[in-house]
Every structure is written in C-alpha cells, then in structure tokens.
Amino acid sequence: MGEVGLEAYLFVGAVLFVCGVVCMATKRNGIGVLMGVELVLNGANINFVAFSRFTPLGLDGQATALFVVVLAAAEAAVALAIALNYYNNHLTIDVDRGNELQG
C-alpha cells in the first residue's frame, strides 16, 4: 500500500458515512438516528480535511469542516430538543411511532 494517501482517508470517510446511513436507517431510537447523523457528518468531514491535505485547495476543506463541526453541534442541540418534544408528545423515542408524515 505504501504511502498513506488521499484514497485511504476517503475510504475511512466512506465507511463512516455508510455506517451513519445504516444507523439512521435501522435505529428506531431517535437518539440513535441522531448518532447516525453524526457519523455521516464525520465521514464527510474526513473527506473535507483529506482534500484539504492532499490537494492544492488549501484551507477551504478545513474551514468547511470546521463549519460542519459547529453546525453539527448546533444540530445536535436542536435535534435533542426536538427529541425531547417528540418524547413529550409520544411518550416514546421510537421514531416508527411518529408517522404523521404518512401520505
């Protein structure tokens, strides 16, 4: 394999991304879904930073990743508030019970 290059990081990011997606898709617990989201975001962040490191784009990747981190934090806060509300309304955190969006 030789030198650790861009692709290796991208693979890691892909794995994290897929894990996050699967997590979102399979977890019935709302908090678990949020965790999936975090994983997805981290997968993406790895990519950003990798591009920043291994391409001549410079700091853009890192800056974006930084924003993503901040946004993820904000998202987590709001999502938790929502989860709490959801819980208050449904007395459960099971997302399958919240099918109000059903057509």
Partner: protein, 248 residues
Amino acid sequence: MTYLLEQAANGIGGTDGLLFWVFAILSCVGAVAVVATQNIVRMAFWLVVSLGSVAALFFLMHADFLGAAQLLIYVGGTVVLLVFGVMLTASGHTIKVQTSPAETLLGGGVGLLLLCVLIFAISTVNWADISQQIPAAGDSPAIVDAREDASLAESLSVATTPEAKATAEKALAAVEARRQAGRTIRQLGLSFYGLRPDHMNSSANAASAPGYLLPFEIISVHLLVVLIGAAYLARAKRRVTPGSGTDL
C-alpha cells in the same frame, strides 16, 4: 522487534502510516459498533470511540485545530449532549428499542451496496490528475511538506561542514518548530477575517479566493439562534399525559 515495527511502519508508511491505520480501523470499528449495538448507552460509547479516532485522523492530517475542535465539540459537547438526551428520554422500555432482524439485514445490505459504490467511485478516480487540474495551482500541503522534508534531509545529508550541518539542523529545527507550533490555527483564524494566507503567494487567485468572514458571522448568529431555539423547544410542556393515549 523494533525492526519489525519499523518495517511494519515502513510497510504501512512509517509512524504516521501506522497511526493512520490504527485510528482508521478504530473509527471504522466504532462506527460499525454504533450500528450494531442495540443499547443506546453503548451506542453512545462507541460513538465516542469513533469520533475520537476521527479527531486523531485529523491530527494525522496536520489539521490540528480541527482535530482539537473535534475533540472538544464532538466528544466533549455533542456526545455529552446525546447522553443527556438518552437520559432524559430513557425510561425502562425505551432504552432498548429493537429493530427487526429483517430490517437490520436490509439496512446492512443497502449499506454494503452503498459502500461498494463509494469505494468503486473513490478508486476509479485518478486523484492526482484532478489535483493537477485545480486552477489554484501550487501543490498540496502534503507534497510541500514532503518536498520540505526531502530538501532538509538532503541539505542535512550533503552538509559537510559543521556550519552547514548546523545551519541545516537549525533549519530543520525551525521547520519542526513551525510545525509544532501548529500550522493551521493562524491560517484558519486569518481566513475567518477574510484573509487567505495559503493563497497569498498564488497571486492569481488571491482576489478570487476570499476568506470566510461572512460564513463565520452567519454561523455565529446561527449558533445563537439555535441556542435560543433549542432552549425554547426543550422547555415546551408535555402535551400528552401518560395513560390517556387517545392521541397516539
């Protein structure tokens, strides 16, 4: 043993390569464990492992500020927040909500497919060519570092005189010092003020590559809004009394 390690390190790219593999595997394992675990609290633990490894990977990519932020915000903030959430919502029967095996299997299948697609995509792209085509010119930081290392090593090796060696060592020490001092904090900070030090020398795009002053401000306000919104949402009253169940 040392040799083996060294060889291994070489085989896998030296010390940095070794560390990469460790943390890469760790983060992947953590992520998979998050998916696989059914208990929400354990999921949180594995998530911490995974995110922490990612932070380590950031360090490996010389994104030290970002890595720090990852640790602080994610591992220190977000995950704690999640755990709070778990605790606030957890009651006996909801701490473990089982997913049906079929769904898990389906999710796994689709995940694998997606992974295959991504890996296929990543591996088919010739990233070097794409780097070449980036108009910003210049080389990637990794290459610059490598070239710097190579030139320092060469000057060190060709240095015959002690003065020259001393100079080379001094230069090496300066580079090391600079690298130790964190290469990105200052740049990131400047970029948030609208300056792009990494592009200073590539005059062509100096004007076209402005900093992140506006996004930064926006994200600041955004955080404030989120703060207030989250507080508002979280303090909403419980509308359904347990046991009524009519609105379910």
